[in-house]
């Protein structure tokens, strides 16, 4: 059944749902079976049933479902900031089920930063809350004539005016939305000024600190004039096989409690590994141009953070890890209110990447990115490129408005972050991403732009972990360390279900591309089921557990092999969409600096041979020499329509 309505105030009230929402879905009780489709141009909300029984087995949820809808509904040629682009916010198949660390949702759209498939994944509480409010996902389409926010609660949805919130930062907007709906415990995703200004590296902030960060999807939300989505619900999901599910919960709980990796994350967060990552040569320094910075790494470590500005930790829905940091800098030039602390990526972005060795600077930069709604990885890369260009004379003081953008000049870096967030001055240019900047500044700046397909590299170096080379080159959203686990396998993670039983040589010339392919699909699974990488990467939860979770929750029988087939299908579908967007082998590469500049330190001067790796990778994937999935591969995965479209 579909409901439809409209008012002059863009407010739509859906009819009250039955008290037992979810009844009738007992076969697939991990899902509400409903999507909320919002036509912003018309000011309409539609509740639509999605074909759970036919789509879920093939595409699971979250990332997979987003890819499927993007393929079906969005032509790759659309303007990413125009009305024809759509923004999908889909929960994972196990999100909200109660299985440990299953809390995540995926955002999908065409990216304004890269021009290809854009996606970002986020934890916290919003994903489960959306399901409890009655919906597995939200689809935003069109462009609202004026700013709005979406209030989703107990099967109802309203578009509310948000002119008064436009221009506010994410923390203020979150608080005011909660006040206005009268639900202090409602969960919020929203954009800050960066998204409003359609900054191409804007993210979507979740509950004042977590971020669906990558590929600029905050700008897509801003282009649609949606300030945020606030959710609150009282439904709870019931597993189909309760005893089986309870047994799994106990087993996983025991796995968490005895795992030193989990314990480490709880105590020191992701930045706990800064010194180790630096020692391995994996933490980029000075815009990827220096191999060692021992004193700086020591000052920026998660242990140091805990000892100095740390005030505690917090967690996501149903997650016993509590890896998230709370920090405060009470006074001084980098004063930062108590709130979410920086993750490893942010420490590298604004610390080692810019030669800032003061953890208070990093905390302040992290806070600014949260306020404005910026991806810290891309923003840090943009600031680093600006500094390098300024020092090389490619930018003048006149162009920077007097800012001395030099290495280690933290006050100037922080000012520049503000300019990017507000799309002001030179910040407007750098907010378009490093690829776009290099096209303006010219050939001399190209090597300073550290990106793949327009997405800035995260702060793990393929010169330290060779498998990252093929992964960064082929990851469907551009360079992404979260779309494979090979650097984890180099460090001791094993996946016995996939035949990965010992750690790999991090300098192997062939790039161990078999592990790249397998773990890219594992990451698709994690993002489609809504499971966090942290317990999985530390082997506290396994692929077998994931299959057991799906079986217990859905009542259908799932195996690791079945899950992996679904993941391969999703990966190939994303690639197919990107092929239609113009991606070919020439785009599957690494930045020149990472390919050619050998460094001292933990990398030992190693350089990955990405072309050699791609030959092996393409063969395993079943792609032709141009990087296009062969028809027989797509047909084997049930993607006959995709094969026909791609090879017509």
């Amino acid at each position: 059944m579909s409901y439809r309505g409209k008012s002059s105030k863009y407010v739509v009230i859906l009819p009250e749902r039955d008290a037992d929402v979810g009844k009738g879905l007992s076969i697939l009780s991990a899902f509400t079976g409903k999507l909320l489709r919002v036509d912003l141009t018309a000011g309409l909300c539609d509740e639509e049933e999605w074909p759970v029984h036919t789509l879920m087995p093939g595409f699971l949820g979250g990332s997979g479902l987003g890819a499927k809808y993007l393929w079906d509904e969005v032509d790759p040629s659309v303007d990413p900031l125009g009305p024809e682009n759509r923004l999908y916010l889909f929960t994972g198949a196990l999100t909200g089920s109660g299985l440990q660390s299953c809390c995540r949702f995926e955002v999908t759209a065409k990216s304004p930063l890269t021009g290809i498939l854009g996606e970002a994944n986020c934890g916290g509480f919003w994903g489960p809350e959306l399901k409890f409010a009655g919906f597995d996902g939200v689809i935003l389409m069109g462009i609202s004539p004026s700013p709005v926010y979406l209030w989703v609660h107990n099967g109802k949805a309203e578009l509310r005016p948000a002119e008064h919130l436009w221009g506010t930062d994410t923390i203020e907007a979150t608080a005011r939305m909660r006040d206005e709906v009268g639900e202090a415990r409602a969960r919020v995703v929203c954009i800050g000024q960066a998204g409003e200004n359609r900054v191409a590296m804007a993210g979507i902030i979740d509950d004042e600190g977590r971020t669906a960060a990558r590929t600029g999807l905050g700008a897509v939300m801003g282009s649609k004039r949606v300030k945020g989505i606030i959710a609150r619900g009282k439904n709870r999901l019931q597993p189909e096989a309760k005893e089986r599910f309870t047994g799994l919960l106990k087993r996983v709980r025991d796995g968490y409690s005895s795992n030193v990796g989990v314990e480490s994350l709880r105590k020191y967060g992701t930045a706990g590994g800064v010194e180790a990552t630096h020692a391995l040569g994996d933490m980029p320094i000075k815009n990827w141009s220096v191999g060692a910075w021992t004193d700086g790494a020591q000052k920026l470590s998660g242990v140091r953070m805990a000892e100095t500005i740390g005030t505690g930790n917090h967690t996501c829905y149903a997650c016993p890890i509590s890896c998230k940091r709370d920090v405060v800098v009470p006074a001084g030039p980098y004063a930062t209110p108590k709130g979410h602390g920086p993750e490893y990526e942010t420490v590298a972005a604004f610390g080692s990447g810019l030669l800032n060795d003061d953890i208070e600077v990093v905390a302040r930069a992290n806070y600014l990115c949260t306020l404005y709604g910026l991806d810290t990885i891309s923003c840090g890369a943009a600031v680093a490129m600006a500094v390098e260009a300024f020092e090389a004379g490619l930018l003048t003081e006149e162009q920077t408005g007097g800012l001395q953008l030099t290495w280690g000049n933290a006050p100037a870096h922080l000012t520049f972050i503000e300019q990017i967030g507000h799309a002001e001055g030179l910040g407007e240019l750098f907010g378009r991403g490093t690829r776009a900047v290099s096209q303006v500044l010219g050939p001399k700046s190209e090597e300073m732009a550290i990106h793949v397909k327009g997405l800035e590299l995260p702060y793990h170096d393929p010169r330290a972990h060779t498998g990252l080379a093929a992964n960064y080159a082929t990851s469907n959203r551009g360079a992404c360390h979260l779309q494979s686990l090979t650097h984890q396998i180099d460090r001791g993670t094993t996946l016995p279900e996939l035949g990965i039983t010992q750690k790999t040589d991090r300098f192997a010339k062939d790039g161990h591309v078999d592990e790249v392919v397998k773990t890219q699909q594992v990451c698709i699974l994690l993002d489609s089921l809504g499971l966090c990488r942290f317990p999985f990467g530390r082997m506290a939860i396994t692929l077998t557990d994931m299959a057991e979770g799906m079986s217990a929750v859905t009542g259908d029988e799932w195996t690791v092999e079945r899950l992996m087939t679904a993941a391969e299908r999703i990966f190939q579908l994303k690639r197919a969409w990107n092929v239609r967007a113009g991606v070919r082998r020439a785009n599957d590469t690494l930045p020149k600096r990472v390919r050619e500049l050998a460094l001292e330190g933990g990398t030992g001067g190693y350089l990955p041979d990405v072309d050699r790796q791609l030959d092996g990778y393409y063969s395993l994937r079943g792609w032709n020499e141009e990087g296009i999935p062969r028809p027989e591969v797509l047909e084997r995965l049930g993607l006959t329509d995709v094969a026909e479209r791609l090879h017509a």
Partner: protein, 97 residues
């Protein structure tokens, strides 16, 4: 006079051991594997972080010797010299994702 070797503990190992460095007696023929066991003897709190249930060095343990990163699961028999600058850390934890 007994020669000694100083081991610097990084990040969580330092926190778990409540010290940033350990000074150990060096013996002729001390290998990377032996060094890890000496560390666990000196600081029992690190036992479960550095050794797997079978008593072998855990796969995520890494050692930097004079700036060169070594993997004790591959190079466990490598000899170390007294006076070497040694860093001990866990590669799999913390910020590895």
């Amino acid at each position: 006079m007994m020669e000694r070797v100083s081991v610097r503990l990084l990040a969580e190992l330092a926190a778990e051991a409540s010290t940033r460095s350990l000074t150990l007696n060096w013996e002729e023929g001390t290998t990377l594997n032996r060094l890890v066991h000496l560390v666990t003897e000196a600081s029992p709190a690190l036992h479960r972080w550095l050794l797997d249930p079978s008593g072998s060095v855990a796969p995520s343990v890494m050692i930097a010797v004079n700036g060169e990163v070594c993997d004790p699961t591959r190079e466990g028999d490598r000899l170390i010299s007294p006076g070497a600058e040694i860093f001990l850390f866990l590669a799999m934890e913390g910020g590895s994702i």
